[in-house]
Every structure is written in structure tokens, then in C-alpha cells.
């Protein structure tokens, strides 16, 4: 009898139902009850949404991280199960008169449609929600922290936020779980340690173990509900030949070997490549959106080179690099004879100055900023207590970096970091770097030089004959300003004025796929759309 009782108990405990029966709200906000969050996950049929709303142009998400070795394969999938959702809500004593305030910040119609769909799914299980788009200064509205990271109350005013995490380094998915950094979840001590673990080592195995554990914790507690992985789509006309060059994550810099691409001549015999995303008013500093703008990738080279998965694979501007055993000393030796597009030498001084400027440029990409902030003396430089970063030194053609603490992404950061010509920014406050006249027609270091700029009309690029990787074969690139989610992109493509480009907008895909001479290739990227559930006691409720 005793054995039978134990067996029965074990069986019951093994079910989610009894497991969740032990779960309960940890404060006055019912969303702090994991059963409610799990119910929300079960209530939304993401498979159907992906197939219908997104016409298959997305991947249903299980876990925050994109599919691959860094994600454990034993995560709960939360497949659509409205009965289970109702059951969990009943157990949690959900008050169906409560109306959830769901917010988002994307202005596209697809997001509004998704919100309406979610509203219907949640209503079906007894959860009512309203949705609204956040306007204006969105940052403080989504990142305001609670006064107390454990007890709250909430610093943000909504119940659920729909948004995304686009990551260069996988740590970016989890770093908000560091103590006192999360606006929506009372501190989870277990996660604090794991965040520290993945940020304090360069060993991929140790990082992987940390990612696995964090994914499991988040998945089990439904702290965040991942909805789908957004893909990126490259489109290429049949005039373009990449000649074996690899594909990769176009949001960033990788070894795309553009200098070896060729195009069939146009009707008037020109080897011209048409593309899009030309600037409307100014070129953007390439330290914020690292590879989003195709012209930045044409015109600027990075210190190191990464492959399509963004794994650093060697030098680009650097001939060689070294990392000390403890990871605290890093050096880059630049190739001999490098020049900027105007013929002036590209030196180690340019690189050292660029690192310092990036530290003061307020919107440098967070992964790059984290790397530069780990260098000795960076804080004193940022606060103005020092004129230079003490951990950055130049010896001949080599830049030496002395780190205060390990940065797990140092090589990744330098595979994305394009130095700028110091001489062009004399007297410019790095805080106002973007406001410099240089950005009307930048002088870069990449395979193509910016030739003619007619803002908001077109930009042309021509080969940089002295390019260290060999002169490019395409004779001219003409970029028009149309971009993602812009009807003019399809118009230009249909008119034969877009031979290459990329978009994250699934809405652009059907039209491009409909062109017989266009090939559209989906590429998996670390870009997860998800909902954050605010568990803190809510002042407005």
C-alpha cells in the first residue's frame, strides 16, 4: 500500500498540473503566478499564426535563442492547448474581469494584426486584453526599472510588452536578468549567477552550459514567452553572381567577399549593380547598426573578419591578432600599406582614436560598448577624468589593448568594428559624431568608395582600386533610398533597379518572390519576437 501511494504521488508530481499546483503568485499581481503565464503561452497558437498571418515567413519559437547548439532540446514547447490554458487559469484563480494592457512599438500592420489575433486567442481562454502602440520616447516606457528589484512596484505601466531581441552576442538575450536590470521580473538569484557565468568566460563550452540552464529556467517559469524567430531575406536578381561567396547574417559584417561578385552587363553594357537603402539625409555612423546599411558594408572594413554565423575567423584590416592566455591582453597588427579611400594611410592611430571615440559616442552598439568599457581606464576616459584610455596603446602598426576584466566578445566586437579616419574628425566632439559633415560623403576603407551622393535620390559607389583584398569586379553600384517595408522597394525591383538587398519585413517577400528573375533566400538570424510579462505589483491596477 505504501509503495502504491509513493508511486501515485510520483506520477502526480511528474505532471505539469500538479507541479503547477504548487506554483502561486509571489505578489499581488496575478501575472506573477507562473500558471497564468504558462496559460498565456498555451493559449496562443503560434504555429497557425506563422502559417497564416506570416504566410510561413517566420519560424515558431521554442526558447529565446535561435535553433542551434546553444539551446537545450528539452524545453517545453507550449504547443497550442486552450483546454490546458483554461485549466491553469482556473487553478490560479484568474479573475476574468481583469483586462491586460498589452503594448508594442512597431508601426507596421503585421504587428497590429498579430495583436488582434492574440486578443482573440486570449479571449477564448478567458483573458481579456487591450493593446496600444507606444508613441514618442519609447525607451523609458519599456525600460523603467522598479524601485526595488524584488518587491517592486513596477516602473513600467503595462502588463505585457510585445517586442524583440536582436542579438549580436547571445549574452544579450539574458543580460537583463542581472541583478536590478529587469523591468518586468522580480529578481531571480539563480539567473544572476548564470548571467555572470556567461559574461566572465571566453570558453564556449562554459557559455553554452550557462545558456542551456538559463533557457530552462525561463522556459519552465514562462518568464518571457518567445513567439517566433524572425528571418532575414536576401534577394538577388539573376544578373548578380556571387561566385561562391558565402551567405550570412546581413544585419552584421561577415566575409561576403563582395569584391569577387560580378554582374551581367545592363542593356547599355554597364556592369552596374542596383541596390537600395541609400541615405536620405546622411550616412549613419557604422558603430550603431553594424551591418544594416549595405552601403556601410561596401564602404567600411572591420578590424577582424567573421563568417556568416558571426564567428571571428581572422583579420580583415588586421594582418594578425593575439589574445593572452588570461584574455586580458589583446593586440591587433594592421596590414601594411592600408589606405583610406582618399589615399591617406590607415594607421594604428586611426584605430586607437576610433576606440576612444566609440566609447564617447552614445549610441555605439551595446556589445561593442561592453568590450570597450572592459578596457583599462575606459571609465576615467568616459567621465573626462583622463584624456585617453590608459589601456589602449600604439606601437608602430599595432594597437595593444589591456583589459580590466575579461570581455567574452572581444573578437566578435572587433569583427564588427570599422575604424574611422581620425584626421577627418579634428575638433569634432565624439558625442556629436553623427552630426559631422563627414557623413555627407564618408571616406572609408572598404572595397567600394562612395562616389556621388544625391541625398534621398541615389548614391553611387565605385571600386577602390587599392583595396587590400583586391579591386572589386563590379564597376558601379547605384543605390536608391527605398528600404524594408517600403512599397518602392518592390517597384524598383520590378523595374529592374534592385539586383541585391535584404529585408527583415516578411511583407516584402511575396512580391519579390513573384518576380521571375529574383531569388529570395531566407536566412536564420538571432532575432526573436517575444512578449515580456510584467510581474511586479502594478501601480495602475
Amino acid at each position: 500500500m505504501k509503495k502504491l501511494l509513493m508511486l501515485g504521488t510520483a506520477l502526480l508530481l511528474s505532471t505539469t498540473a500538479i507541479g503547477s499546483a504548487w506554483a502561486q503568485a509571489i505578489n499581488s499581481n496575478p501575472l506573477s503566478d507562473p500558471r497564468v503565464r504558462q496559460a498565456i503561452a498555451y493559449a496562443i497558437d503560434m504555429d497557425t499564426i506563422v502559417e497564416t498571418l506570416f504566410e510561413g515567413n517566420a519560424i515558431r519559437a521554442v526558447g529565446l535563442l535561435p535553433d542551434g547548439p546553444n539551446k537545450p532540446d528539452d524545453l517545453e514547447r507550449y504547443d497550442y492547448n486552450p483546454d490546458k490554458a483554461r485549466e491553469l487559469l482556473a487553478e490560479a484563480g484568474w479573475d476574468s474581469s481583469r483586462e491586460l494592457d498589452v503594448v508594442y512599438y512597431y508601426a507596421d500592420q503585421g504587428t497590429a494584426d498579430l495583436m488582434a489575433t492574440m486578443q482573440a486567442y486570449l479571449a477564448d481562454v478567458g483573458i481579456s486584453m487591450n493593446y496600444r502602440m507606444l508613441e514618442g520616447d519609447v525607451g523609458p516606457q519599456i525600460t523603467a526599472l522598479p524601485a526595488d528589484p524584488v518587491a517592486g512596484p513596477s516602473g513600467v505601466k503595462w502588463d505585457i510588452l510585445y517586442g524583440a531581441r536582436a542579438a549580436l552576442a547571445l549574452q544579450e538575450y539574458f543580460n537583463q536578468f542581472g541583478y536590478g536590470l529587469m523591468p518586468t521580473i522580480p529578481n531571480v538569484p539563480e539567473m544572476n549567477d548564470l548571467v555572470a557565468q556567461v559574461n566572465s568566460t571566453t570558453d564556449p563550452e562554459v557559455q553554452r552550459e550557462g545558456y542551456h540552464q538559463m533557457e530552462r529556467v525561463i522556459n519552465k517559469n514562462a518568464y518571457i514567452i518567445p513567439l517566433y524567430y524572425q528571418q532575414l531575406y536576401t534577394y538577388e536578381s539573376n544578373r548578380l553572381h556571387r561566385n561562391g561567396a558565402p551567405y550570412g547574417n546581413e544585419q552584421y559584417n561577415y566575409n561576403w567577399d563582395v569584391q569577387n561578385w560580378t554582374v551581367d552587363p545592363t542593356a547599355d553594357g554597364k556592369n552596374v549593380l542596383y541596390t537600395n537603402a541609400a541615405p536620405a539625409q546622411f550616412f549613419e555612423v557604422p558603430w550603431q547598426n553594424l551591418g544594416i546599411w549595405v552601403h556601410s558594408k561596401f564602404a567600411f572594413d572591420t578590424v577582424l573578419e567573421a563568417d556568416g554565423n558571426l564567428t571571428p575567423i581572422g583579420g580583415e584590416l588586421a594582418e594578425s591578432y593575439s589574445v593572452s592566455e588570461d584574455g586580458l591582453d589583446v593586440s591587433f597588427t594592421l596590414k601594411d600599406g592600408l589606405t583610406w579611400h582618399d589615399g591617406t594611410p590607415l594607421t594604428a592611430d586611426d584605430l586607437a582614436w576610433s576606440i576612444e571615440a566609440a566609447l564617447k559616442f552614445p549610441i555605439t552598439h551595446p556589445v561593442l560598448m561592453a568590450t570597450f568599457k572592459a578596457i583599462d581606464g575606459s571609465e576615467a576616459f568616459q567621465t573626462g577624468a583622463a584624456d585617453h584610455v590608459s589601456g589602449v596603446s600604439v606601437e608602430g602598426n599595432t594597437v595593444k589593448l589591456k583589459f580590466d576584466h575579461i570581455d567574452p566578445n572581444v573578437l566578435l566586437s572587433f569583427s564588427q568594428f570599422a575604424p574611422l579616419p581620425k584626421a577627418q574628425f579634428a575638433g569634432v566632439n565624439p558625442v556629436e559624431l553623427q552630426q559631422s559633415a563627414y557623413w555627407q560623403k564618408p571616406i572609408g576603407s572598404g572595397p567600394f568608395m562612395i562616389d556621388e551622393v544625391r541625398m534621398n535620390d541615389y548614391t553611387t559607389l565605385v571600386p577602390f582600386a587599392a583595396y587590400h583584398g583586391g579591386a572589386p569586379k563590379i564597376e558601379q553600384i547605384i543605390a536608391r533610398p527605398s528600404g524594408d517595408n517600403d512599397g518602392n522597394l518592390l517597384v524598383n525591383a520590378t523595374a529592374g533597379k534592385a539586383d541585391f538587398g535584404y529585408t527583415k519585413s516578411a511583407g516584402d517577400v511575396p512580391g519579390l518572390e513573384g518576380l521571375s528573375y529574383m531569388t529570395v533566400k531566407p536566412i536564420d538570424i538571432p532575432y526573436t519576437r517575444m512578449i515580456w510579462i510584467n510581474q511586479f505589483p502594478h501601480p495602475a491596477k
Binding site: Y105, L134, E135, G136, D137, V138, G139, I142, T143, G163, A164, R165, A166, E172, N175, Q176, A280, Q281, F282, Q288, N289, P362, I363, H365, P366, M369, N429, V431, E432, Q434, Q435, S436, A437, W439, Q440, E452, R454, M455, N456, D457, Y458, T460, Q476, I478, R480, P481, S482, N488, V491, N492, T494, A495, K497
Partner: protein, 320 residues
């Protein structure tokens, strides 16, 4: 008349100031600023708020509203339009780049619509009640009621994509030097922009012509044996022209703002496109300068209409 013009010009100044202040106030009440626009919300959670605050300070966004307005206004009075907040581009340069494109498009549309509208309106009036009149009336109604972007998309589909006769967008291409090089780019946007204007002018011209033709002096002219074409054109049309000129005058500012949609549909790099981007990006100096330009165009156009009306119609006495 000179006294009247001087008085009107003096009234323009406080009116422009008040309108600019209201536009600035409206922008101030809009949530967000140029810095919040520069950064994608996806990335915001990883940004350092202290550094963003420093950026706001450096760009002058940390100062009180009234101080910023005063700085903008006093710079303007010294002939300095200032700089775009987001990109640091001198606004004078933005205007010199974009204004010619908008004026080129607007003037082409205005000329086209004035000639066509007047001509068709007169024909319609002279053939009152005929099938031609009915057809033109229907066409006119369609012209004023169907949105411009629809005509734009249809034109792109037919003439740009299917027939391949005209470029689908943009104003220039590498290697263009003269106006004639870029004329093919102008034809579609100018024609589409002129459709609505033509329809309006045509309706005005028709009713105005009918009104003129019913006057006693027309009967007198006919009784004198003056040829019918002279009666219609020299006597009737001249009088009928007055309300048409008024309409065209008031269309001048509309052309500046009314080309916004056409500029977007045809990827035309004009001031309307810039204005939309600046409003979205909360780029105060750019928005204010373009707004001031629009305000001045409206006020000056109104003055010109008054003066022209007096010149055309001797019965009108300005300042009475």
C-alpha cells in the same frame, strides 16, 4: 495699392511668428525627441541612459521649450537656419537640395493644370449640355475625388512597369546633366499631381465662363456683330479668368504641401519627403524651417491673389 501692400506685408510678420510658435508648441507636445527616434526600441534597453542624456544635452534638447524656440528664432533672424538635429546637416543645404526638386514638380504640375483646366473648362462651358460637357464633368469629378496616390500607382504600373516608357521613380540618375535628361522622370509625377488641380481649375473655369457668358456685355458684343470666337475669348474668357486666377493663386501653397504624397509615391527627393522624415524624427529645426516656408508661401500667395485680382478686374479696389 502700395499702401495696401505694405500694410499686408507688415501683418504677415506677426502672423508668421504666431503660426511658427504654434507649430513649435505642437511639436513640443508630441512625445519623444530626435534622440529617441535615432535608436531602435529593440536596442534601447541595452543603452546607457546617462550617455543618452549627454547626447540630448549636446544637441540642445535638454533646454526648456521656450529657450529652444528663442534660439531657433533669433538664429533665423540672423539668417541662420540652423542644423538638422539628427544628421547635423545645415538646413540651408537641405533647402537648396530639396526645394528645387519640389518647385520643379509643382511648377510643372501648375502650368499643366492651368492650361489644361482652363481650356477644358471653356470648352465645357461653350458646349454646355452636350455629350462633351457631360464627359468632361464626369472626368472632372473623378479627378477631384480619386486620391492622387491611386493615380500614381496606376501610372507607375502602366507606364513604368508594363510599357516601360518612363522611369518608375527618382529625379536624377548618374550622368544626368541637363533638364532634358531628367524630363522623363518628371512626366509621371507632374502629370499625376496635375490631375486633381486640372479637374478643379476646369470646374471653376466652366462655371465662371458660363457666368460671364450670361452677362449683358456679352449680349451687347454679339449685337455689335463681333465674331463669336472673339466674344467668347476676348470678352467672356477675360472676365471668367478672375476666379480662376484666384484659385490658382491659392493653389501655390497647396502645391508645396500637396506634393508630399506624390513625392513619396514617385521617390521624388523634394521638400515634402524631407518634411515627413523630419516630423517622424522630431527634427525640430528642419520641421520649423519648412513650416515657416509653407506659412510664408500661404501668406504671400494670398497677397499676390489680392493684387492680381485687382489688376485683372478693374472693379476691385484694394484697401477700400
Amino acid at each position: 495699392m502700395l499702401t495696401y501692400i505694405i500694410r499686408r506685408v507688415l501683418i504677415l510678420i506677426p502672423m508668421a511668428l504666431v503660426i511658427c510658435f504654434l507649430v513649435y508648441l505642437g511639436l513640443e507636445m508630441t512625445p519623444g525627441d530626435a534622440v529617441s527616434f535615432m535608436i531602435s526600441p529593440d536596442a534601447l534597453s541595452s543603452m546607457d541612459p546617462a550617455q543618452l542624456a549627454e547626447m540630448r544635452e549636446a544637441l540642445g534638447l535638454g533646454q526648456p521649450f521656450i529657450v529652444r524656440f528663442w534660439i531657433w528664432l533669433s538664429s533665423l533672424l540672423q539668417g541662420n537656419f540652423g542644423y538638422s538635429t539628427s544628421g547635423g546637416v545645415p538646413i540651408g543645404r537641405i533647402l537648396s537640395d530639396r526645394l528645387p526638386a519640389t518647385l520643379e514638380l509643382s511648377v510643372a504640375a501648375l502650368v499643366l493644370s492651368t492650361i489644361l483646366g482652363s481650356l477644358l473648362g471653356v470648352i465645357s462651358a461653350l458646349k454646355r449640355g452636350s455629350k462633351t460637357d457631360s464627359a468632361l464633368t464626369v472626368v472632372g469629378m473623378l479627378g477631384v475625388s480619386v486620391p492622387e496616390f491611386f493615380f500614381g500607382l496606376v501610372a507607375i504600373l502602366i507606364f513604368g512597369l508594363n510599357l516601360g516608357w518612363l522611369p518608375v521613380g527618382g529625379r536624377m540618375m548618374p550622368g544626368y546633366v541637363t533638364f532634358w535628361d531628367r524630363l522623363p522622370h518628371l512626366i509621371m509625377p507632374a502629370s499625376v499631381l496635375s490631375i486633381m488641380l486640372t479637374a478643379g481649375v476646369m470646374r471653376y473655369a466652366r462655371s465662371s465662363m458660363l457666368d460671364a457668358l450670361s452677362k449683358d456685355f456679352i449680349k451687347t458684343a454679339r449685337s455689335k456683330g463681333i465674331p463669336e470666337w472673339r466674344v467668347n475669348l476676348l470678352h467672356g474668357f477675360r472676365v471668367a479668368l478672375t476666379p480662376v486666377v484666384v484659385l490658382i493663386g491659392f493653389r501655390l501653397p497647396v502645391l508645396l504641401g500637396g506634393s508630399v504624397i506624390i513625392e513619396q509615391v514617385f521617390q521624388w527627393p523634394g521638400i515634402g519627403n524631407e518634411f515627413i522624415s523630419a516630423v517622424r524624427g522630431q527634427d525640430y529645426p528642419v520641421v520649423m524651417t519648412i513650416a515657416l516656408l509653407s506659412v510664408m508661401t500661404v501668406l504671400v500667395a494670398s497677397l499676390i491673389v489680392d493684387v492680381l485680382t485687382a489688376v485683372i478686374d478693374p472693379r476691385v479696389r484694394l484697401g477700400d
